[in-house]
Symmetry: C2
Subunit: 123 residues, 2 copies
């Protein structure tokens, strides 16, 4: 019973979707995986300055459990693990598009700071 239940009864679709994306780094993981297709653990880590190893694995495991991310382990000498989006991860990302646009405009509107990280890679 150490694991969180996840997937409690939802009131609306927004609820069900937010449950899956909420988490400090999940949006960014989706973003990175969308931009690069396939990434290894250390690559993701480097692409997300500030994330700790613990949080990264934790979020990746939850997203795997939620069917958004695929995890492939290669039993090689230096271990290699590759992450990519599943079909559901891809559709979720598409569904997040308009929200991302809205957020970007909000940033522009309010003049908030935004961290410039490889902006060119994203659309």
């Amino acid at each position: 019973m150490a694991k969180a239940p996840r997937s409690g009864p939802y009131i609306c679709g927004i609820d069900a979707a937010l449950d899956v994306v909420s988490g400090k780094w999940k949006g960014l993981i989706l973003w990175e995986l969308h931009a690069h297709g396939v990434r290894r653990f250390a690559e993701l880590r480097r692409g997300m300055p500030g994330v700790s190893e613990k949080m990264l694995t934790q979020h990746l495991r939850e997203m795997e459990e939620d069917g958004l991310v695929r995890r492939e382990v290669y039993a090689e000498v230096p271990p290699r693990v590759e992450y990519s989006l599943t079909e559901h991860g891809i559709t979720l990302n598409r569904a997040l598009g308009p929200l991302g646009d809205w957020g970007a405009e909000r940033v522009r509107r309010e003049g908030f700071d935004s961290v410039a990280v490889a902006e060119a890679a994203h659309r």
Copy 2:
């Protein structure tokens, strides 16, 4: 300086948007206000079973501060306060549409429980 900073530097638009929607009841507030146009405090409360008064006011205040919700107070004998969406609240809601659809399909797909609350009112 008691107030949370909010609007920290964002990494991408998703970040900026999620910052504004994350909160246990915010999605539902948006939903209610969209469905009814204008609602009083107690009406919202009744429409969201389980929310505490504290959380409801807290979320409403934050959303007002974020420019999503308009709050109008009528200095009447039994106090009356009406809440509605601002222009930005409306566009945010529109941007959440695809996400809501995705979430609804996830619920269907996985066979999760969903609480039936006035479903008919929501498109």
